[in-house]
Structures are given as C-alpha cells and as structure tokens.
C-alpha cells in the first residue's frame, strides 16, 4: 500500500523517478529545479537508483545527452527551468521529431531580464510549439502522479513522444506537502518497461536525425502533428488506468463548480488552488462563478474545452506570461481561437498576472473575476488586462 508522507515536492519528484526506474538522468542545476536533480544525484550515488547520472556542462548538453540516451533505449529523465529551458530550446524540437520519450519536469520560472528566480509561465510558453506533450500540475500529488504517467504515455508505442510536466517553481518545488507515494510493486505493475521499436543498436543499425530535403519535410512534419494529436487518446486512457490503479483521476480540462456557472475563471498551475478558495467564497455569497483548470496544454484539448465553457456567458482567462506586442497571453489567445467558430460561446476576457512570482491572493481572484464581468459588459480598448500593476 502507498504511504502518505510529508515531502518537499522536488524530493517527491526524485522519488517518483526512482519508482519509475529511470536508466539515465542528465541534468544541469538551475533554481528552482535544483532539489529535484540533487535528490536524484544522491539516489544514484547511494545506489538506491540504478541509473547513470550525467552531470553535464549546460542544459543544451543535458537535452542532447537525454536524446542520445533515449535513442539507445534508456528510460531518460531530466529537469530544468527558465533560462535552462531556453538554452535547450533547439534540442527540444529534435527530441520530439526523433520520437524520443524523454520525461522532463520544468520548475516554471520567469525569464530574464531582469533576473527573476520566481514563478511564472513564460518559460513554458516559449516552448509551446516544440512538439512535446505538455501537462500542468497544481500540487505535489499531481506532480508525482503525472511524472509516473508521463513515462507510460511517452513510451507507449502509439505515442513515442517526450513529455514535459510543468510545476510552479517555489510554490510547488520548495513546498512540503502530504503526498501518497506509491509502492514500487504498484508502479511496476502500472508502468511497462520501455521498449522503443527503433533504437541505436549496432546489431540493427539505423540513422536518426538525417537530412530531410523539401520533397519530404512537409510529410515528416504532418506525420508528427497527426501523431501528437493522436496521443490524446493514449493520455486519456493512461489517466483512466491510473485512476483505477491509484484512485486519483485526471482529465485535460478539470472543473470546479463550473457546471452551469455563468462566469468561469480558467487557470493553470498552482494558482488554481487559491482560485478554488476564491470561487468557494464567491459562491457562498450567491455569485454564479466556477473554475476551469487547464491541465493538458499539448495536445490542446479542443473538444473538452468547448464542452466545458458551453453554458458560460463570461470566461476569464489568467495567463502567467505575456506575448509581447501580441494578443496578451498565449493561453487566452488559443482559447479565443478554439472558440471562434462556436455558435454559442462566452465572452473571453484575458488577464495577464502572477508574473515573476507576484502572488495572486484569494481577494485578488475575486477582484479579477468582478473586473472581468464588468469588462465583458462595458468592453475594453485593450487586447488584454494586466492584473495588479501599479500605475
């Protein structure tokens, strides 16, 4: 039986990777990801995890080493954040296009300048189009569960894609939470061994990452897109199986009192926890509000999102990143696009807030929702609202 333990979420991530029996960990330490990889280095050094730990000289090398390891058939894990994720950027595309099911936790952190070690989602949004499966989690338990699921989803022969688990830096990575840590036998039963059909093997040589002239590139990219879209079925299946085995169920768009609510707020990551409390309070005061939490970011859950907002009149979307000179927040602009052709759709009001570790409190969410409803009625000259900025 799984035990409920009090663990720092980063340590729990390391333990989850140990339970998944990773073969290779290649990582470069960067705040606020450090505790994850330090713990893994310890587990390997103590012999508790039979894996190679490759202490590389940069994140670019970390992802390159992971690509090589995954290509020979090793179960591979890494973690990074912010500038580190940006430094490995070009290799991210290679990992997904070469269909290497690397699992990576990203301890979401703002991008420089100015240097900020604190959380927002600008690092995640910058790697939106890299072809990875991407999942946002909101607490420690979800992190552990989804790290285990990530290996199973990515390594599924119908998928064979890398998976990023986004967890908020500090507000999750450095917080001690009660976590149900599964037993080894339970994880072994849930997670089959990694067996890629085409690995680098001298007995059966193959070439990976070769030249793709104009006559083939479009076909390769379309095959990749079809594959990522088709991965959704496997993701849903995996979450269902995980629920049956461990009693905790996940879905692409999670709802909290959203059924039939006229005003909906949509959040991602750890701020969803505060938003739930704000929704409770407002509902207690008789306000018709609900919350949606976008868990699956890639592949984007179009059908689930459309279904979830069907009855709402106003949908307020919080982005923790700015698309400079663009429509405000990447999440909001994608949601607007997803709803554009719907006959019946809510007014979508975008807020950008929670940047660089700026907290949004319960009363902050109340204020945001009230302001959003007001803007939905009166209109605004801006493409989006910036939340909590000092004039």
């Amino acid at each position: 039986m799984a035990k409920r333990v009090g663990l720092e979420v980063s340590i729990a991530v390391g333990d989850a990777v140990k339970l998944a029996n990773a073969d290779v960990v290649a990582a470069y330490p960067i705040t606020p990801q450090t505790h994850i990889v330090e713990h893994l280095a310890e587990l390997v050094a103590n012999g508790e995890l039979q894996a190679s730990y490759i202490p590389v000289e940069s994140e670019h090398s970390a992802m390159s080493a992971c690509a090589g390891a995954s290509a020979v058939g090793a179960r591979t894990f890494t973690a990074t954040a912010s500038q580190g994720l940006e430094l490995m950027h070009e290799v991210l595309y290679i990992a997904s296009a070469m269909r290497l099911p690397i699992v990576m936790t990203v301890a979401n952190r703002a991008l420089s300048a100015p240097i900020s070690i604190w959380c927002d989602h600008s690092d995640a949004m910058a790697v939106r189009d890299t072809g990875w499966i991407q999942v946002f989690v909101e607490n420690g338990q979800e992190t552990v569960d989804n790290v285990i699921c990530a290996f199973r989803i990515g390594e599924d022969k119908r998928v064979l894609l890398p998976v990023m688990i986004h967890l908020d830096g500090f507000s999750l990575t450095h917080v001690i939470e009660p976590i149900m840590l599964p037993e080894r036998a339970e994880v072994d039963k849930f997670l089959p061994p990694y067996n890629h059909p085409l690995t680098l093997d001298p007995e059966k040589p193959v070439t990976m990452g070769a030249f793709g002239p104009p006559f083939i590139y479009t076909e390769v990219k379309w095959a990749q897109e079809v594959n990522l879209e088709a991965a959704k079925k496997v993701i849903l299946e995996c979450w269902q199986e995980f629920g049956k085995a461990f009693g905790r169920y996940y879905s692409p768009v999670e709802s909290y009192h959203s059924e039939g609510a006229k005003v909906l707020l949509l959040t991602m990551g750890s701020l969803s926890e505060t938003a739930m409390v704000a929704v409770d309070k407002m509902r207690g005061e008789g306000k018709d509000v609900g919350l949606l939490k976008l868990r699956l970011w890639r592949p984007f859950p179009f059908a689930e999102l459309r279904q979830a907002v069907r009855d709402a009149e106003v949908l307020i979307v919080l982005d923790r990143a700015i698309s400079f000179g663009g429509p405000g927040g990447p999440v909001c602009s994608e949601i607007k696009a997803a709803l554009y052709h719907e006959a019946k759709k809510p007014k979508v009001i975008g807020f950008v807030g929670g940047l660089g570790g700026r907290d949004i409190s319960m009363s902050g969410f109340e204020k945001m929702m009230n302001q959003g409803v007001e803007i939905a009625q009166t209109g605004s000259e801006r493409e989006f609202e910036i939340f909590g900025v000092r004039e």
């Binding site: 290497l100 070439t207 990976m208 002239p213 006559f215 083939i216 095959a223």
Partner: protein, 105 residues
C-alpha cells in the same frame, strides 16, 4: 526515412506519402539515400568529349558525389540523377575534355 517494407527500388520524389514515413523519419536501410534524386538543383551539367578523354580516371576520383562511372568503352560519364553540377571534374580534367553546359530547362 521510408518504412523498410515499403518498396524495393527508387521512388521518385513526390511519391512518398506522410504515412510511409518511418517513426521519427528514422532511416532503417543503409544507403537508402541513393533512392532519392539529389541532382535536381544543378544549374550546369558536365558534358564529356570522348575524343579528348585519355581515360586518366581523375574525374572519377575527384567527383565529390561519386556519381561518375566507367562506360563499357572505358570512358567516364556523370549520373545526372545525382550530379549537382559542381564542375570539379571539368576543373581537374587535364585534357579539358569536360565542358560545363548551362541547364536551360
């Protein structure tokens, strides 16, 4: 690049569908590149005058594509399926037997 079982011999460009692509565009067959026409961006092609040629083999050795082969008569000719028109053969030919001619169509 293409799935191994797909076909035995060269497919011209434009015949491979996205469904024929191997996982991750991985190449499972050594030398499969020879199935694909790489001589399609040539702007000049080598024309060899057999009357000048003394069969010295220098063009054969210098060709970076390895696309020059011996004819049954012992002369040398470029395979235009692969030749990119670099002109190294013409440059190196000690008998000036090779002329680079503009590709007009």
């Amino acid at each position: 690049m293409a799935k191994t079982k797909a076909r035995p011999k060269a497919r011209a460009e434009g015949e491979l569908s996205w469904k024929d692509i191997e996982i991750g565009c991985i190449i499972t067959e050594p030398g499969s590149g020879s199935q694909f026409k790489t001589g399609d961006w040539r702007s000049r092609r080598p024309v060899i005058d057999f009357n000048q040629c003394n069969k010295c083999t220098l063009c054969y050795y210098y060709c970076p594509e390895g696309c020059i082969a011996k004819t049954p008569e012992g002369y040398f000719e470029a395979d235009l399926f692969y030749c990119k028109g670099c002109g190294i053969c013409a440059e190196e030919c000690p008998k000036d037997a090779i002329t680079m001619v503009e590709e007009e169509k």
